[in-house]
Structure formats: structure tokens, C-alpha cells
Amino acid sequence: MHFLKLLARLAETDTESLTLTGPRRTALRRLAQAGTAALPAVLTALPQPAVARDSRTVQDVLKLALTLEQLENAFYTQALQQPLSFFGTTENQAAIQTIQGHEQQHVALFTRLLVNAGATLDLTPRFDFTGSKNGAQAALYPDVFTNFDTFLRVAQLLEDTGVRAYKGQVEYIQFDNFLLESAVRAHSVEARHASHIRTMRRQRGATVKSWVSPSDAPIATTGSVAAKAYAGEDSFTQYLAGNNLVPFVDNLPINVAKPPLSQAAILAKVAEAFDEPLDGLTATEVVSLFIY
């Protein structure tokens, strides 16, 4: 867990002074409290379902968002230091520039939200986008900054992971409309990025849709950490309030194709039509591939 490593590093560093606190500090002093801690004792005393509960705090949510954005910002910034020949065309270079600009704005936004709430910022992690942990192990993507196709594969992994990670966090900030809206609006920008990266890859010959599809050629080895970024994304089960399943599975009410699609083909479209969330621990695990 790199957060633990960061905490250890923070302990030996002169950290951000608390005088940086802003007006929101008092209101958000409970930032670091666990979500369940605020429940009345009578509720917490009730028998809990036999499912592990993730008790993330608002601070956890914001720090995960910040780490994701720092990772993406560093990734695109390093790419932009490469010569034009790396990108092939000025259009490609300009697109990466556009995306990097947004990631930088997201870093600034989540930094500001954390600081204004009185949180202590962690040190910016150290990144290695080859996945070699600074040479400590074999590189996963040795040519990430020399081969544009490898770069785009990693970009897709990061953007798709970002989209799923935000989605997995919204329930923990639902009570704060400002934070919620900031997160969902950053989230849909990540989805726009992911779509463009995917379109670029398709134009370069990759088998990939602009949206996450079961028909996409996998970009990670089965069983690898990177593959966790896509695990469950092909789900075609959707639930309503009260855990009621919408049974796309057994029925074929939806068909706009001529001739009509098979049931399997429709379910593949259902899988495409909904992006799935990724829990915080898995998102952190994927992100940690590139942190040492």
C-alpha cells in the first residue's frame, strides 16, 4: 500500500503547515472520520451483513482522486517531453496536450479541496510508467515512451481505471453536493479522454471500441493486476433500489438491429451501455503498478 509508504515518508518530513487551512476547515473537520462512525450507536449495534464494508472517509476519496490525477498528469507530461516523432502527427500531440491540461486542472482542484478542508497533503508519489518500480523488477511496458502504441495502451488503462474509480467513490461523498458534483464532472471528462484514446487506438488498427466493450481485444494479461481494471466491466446485470435485478439476462426487450440480434449479442450491448464502478482498494492496486 503506497499510502502507508507515503505516511512513513511524511513522518520524517517537515509537512505542510496547518496554517494553510481555509474557510471550509471547520465544516469539514470530520473529514477523516470513518463514514460509519457517524452512525448512532443503536444502528451500529444492529447485526451487520456478512459482507466486508468499506469504511472510506471523504479524505480517502479525495486523496485517491488526487493520486489518480497526479499519476495521469505525470504520465502525459512525460510523454509531452518526447519529440514529435513519438506522436507521429501534430494532431496526436495536440490531443495528448489537451488531456494533460485537464489532468493538471484536476490535480489543482483536488489539492485545493483537500487543503481548504484542512487536510495534510501527502508527498506526490514517485512514478515509473514502465512498471519496473524504478528498475526493481522487470518492466511491464518498457517502451511506453518510445512506442506510441504502447503509450496509448497504458493511457487507455489509466483513463478507464480513472472512470471506474470515480464511480466507485461517489457513494462516500453523496452527502456533500459540492464534492459530489466536482467528482462526477471530473469523472465524465475522464470518460471523454478514454473515448478519444480508444478512437486513436482503433484508427491505428487496434480492436477496440470508443466505449468499453466485451469485443475489445484485452490490453492486459489474464490474471495480472492491470487486468483487474477491466474485471466485472462486462457485467450485464443492473440493479434497482432494494437490490432488485433488472433481468436483461432472461429477456430480449431491446433490439434495434435488422436483422434482430441474438441474445448473446444484445447482452454484449447491455454490457457496453453501462460502465461499472471499481472499488477503492482495486483502483489503488492498479495505480500502484506505476508508483514506487
Partner: protein, 240 residues
């Protein structure tokens, strides 16, 4: 909410396949209704359409979470009807990649539409709005520019609507559903925008200086959507 909408009737027939093993007859009703633009439009013209609101042709989306669901259902109906027309009568010069992608988008939107129909039918069967009658008179479906610019309008509008509605939703399951759909709409939006102007996937007209996507209030969205819908939509109480 007494002034809301209708129940039963043809809508219940259409919703039924989501709950019971499909019958051949209802499956073909669906396939037929969505296969062609004409049939789709007709399906929006059920004869019990006009009992939705306080005045003929008026539709109230209702209040609370159900209002938000009806709001999403209305927008998804609009998008689904639009793309069904696009696929049924492709504009001249549509490439293979475009045809594949626009067909997929049509399917996604139809799935979203039917999902909300099922969701509202399950949560508040008496409060679901009926089938809306799209008004696409100003769209030239044989013209690439006309179709793609309308598609961009609908996709960016959808993204901004979901982004603005998140804070109106009380139930966390529905909030997550909105999140699952908005990112797919954003992927559509980026794809369509790149078709019009390569590299405009997240242009400064939709992403602000904080790197945040556009958000719109219910009334802002409905003002922009209303010209494409025959019925007058009232969203005054959505999320309240």
C-alpha cells in the same frame, strides 16, 4: 403526486418483457417498434398519451427520485428515437466505422431507455411518464452535418443533465446508475465530437477551466430538449 402521468395500458404491455420470460408476440412488438423510424414514431403516439398532465400534451416528470428517473427516461427516449432514425436512414457518405458506432450508440440508448422504463415501473408504477413523441422536423437525416451536430447536442446535453442531476438523487443505487450511464454518454459525446472536428472530444465549450464537464440544471436541460419533443415537459419538481 396526483398530477403525474399514467399507468398501465400499452406501457405495461411494453414493460412486461422485462419481468416475465419473453413471449414471441411481445418480442416482435419490440423488434418491430424499434426497427424502423415510422414504427417508432407511431409507438410514441399511443392513444392514451394525452392524460399525462394537467393539460393536454403536457407531461409532468414528478418529484423526488422518481422525478429524476422520469427526467432521465425522457432524455433517453429522445436519444433512442433519434439514433433509431439515424440507423434506419443513414446519411450519405456514412463510413463503415461510423455505421458500426452509430448502430451501437442506438442500441445503448435503447437499452438506457428500457432500463429506466423498468426502473420506474418497479419503483413507482403509477408515476411513469408515457412514450414521448419526438419532433425531428428540423433535422435532415440524409445530411451528415445535420445529423452529427444534433447527435453532439444530444450527447453533450445528456452528460450535462446527468452531471447536474447527481446531487438531486437521494437513493445511492440510482446515483450509481446515473454514474454508470453518464460516462457512457460522455464516451459517445467524445466520439461524435471527434467525427465533426478531430481532437474536439473535450473542447473548452464543454470542459471548464477547472477541467470539469458542463453541468446543467433540469430547467436548462429541458429548455434545450423541448424543441425536439411534441409534449410540453414540466420538470419543476424533479428531485424535490
Amino acid at each position: 403526486m396526483s398530477n403525474i402521468t399514467k399507468s398501465g395500458g400499452d406501457d405495461a404491455e411494453f414493460a412486461k418483457p422485462l419481468y416475465t420470460p419473453i413471449k414471441r408476440r411481445s418480442f416482435f412488438m419490440y423488434a418491430g417498434a424499434t426497427a424502423g423510424a415510422t414504427a417508432l414514431l407511431l409507438s410514441g403516439c399511443d392513444d392514451d398519451d394525452d392524460n399525462n398532465g394537467t393539460q393536454p400534451g403536457a407531461v409532468s416528470l414528478g418529484s423526488g427520485d422518481v422525478g429524476v428517473l422520469n427526467y432521465a427516461y425522457a432524455l433517453e427516449q429522445l436519444e433512442a428515437a433519434f439514433y433509431a432514425r439515424v440507423v434506419a436512414s443513414p446519411f450519405s457518405g456514412m463510413t463503415t466505422d461510423e455505421r458500426t458506432a452509430l448502430t451501437a450508440i442506438a442500441q445503448h440508448e435503447a437499452i438506457h431507455r428500457d432500463f429506466f422504463k423498468a426502473a420506474i415501473t418497479a419503483a413507482a408504477p403509477t408515476q411513469i411518464i408515457g412514450s414521448l413523441t419526438p419532433k425531428f422536423d428540423n433535422i435532415n437525416f440524409s445530411d451528415r452535418t445535420s445529423v452529427l451536430s444534433t447527435a453532439r447536442t444530444f450527447e453533450d446535453l445528456g452528460v450535462s443533465a446527468y452531471n447536474g442531476a447527481g446531487s438531486l438523487i437521494q437513493n445511492s443505487t440510482y446515483l450509481l446508475i446515473a454514474g454508470k450511464i453518464v460516462s457512457v454518454e460522455a464516451r459517445h459525446a467524445a466520439y461524435i465530437r471527434d467525427l465533426i472536428t478531430p481532437g474536439s472530444f473535450s473542447g473548452s465549450d464543454v470542459v471548464d477551466a477547472n477541467g470539469l464537464d458542463v453541468r446543467r440544471s433540469v430547467s436548462e436541460v429541458l429548455t434545450l430538449a423541448q424543441p425536439f419533443i411534441t409534449e410540453t415537459i414540466n420538470g419543476d419538481n424533479v428531485g424535490k
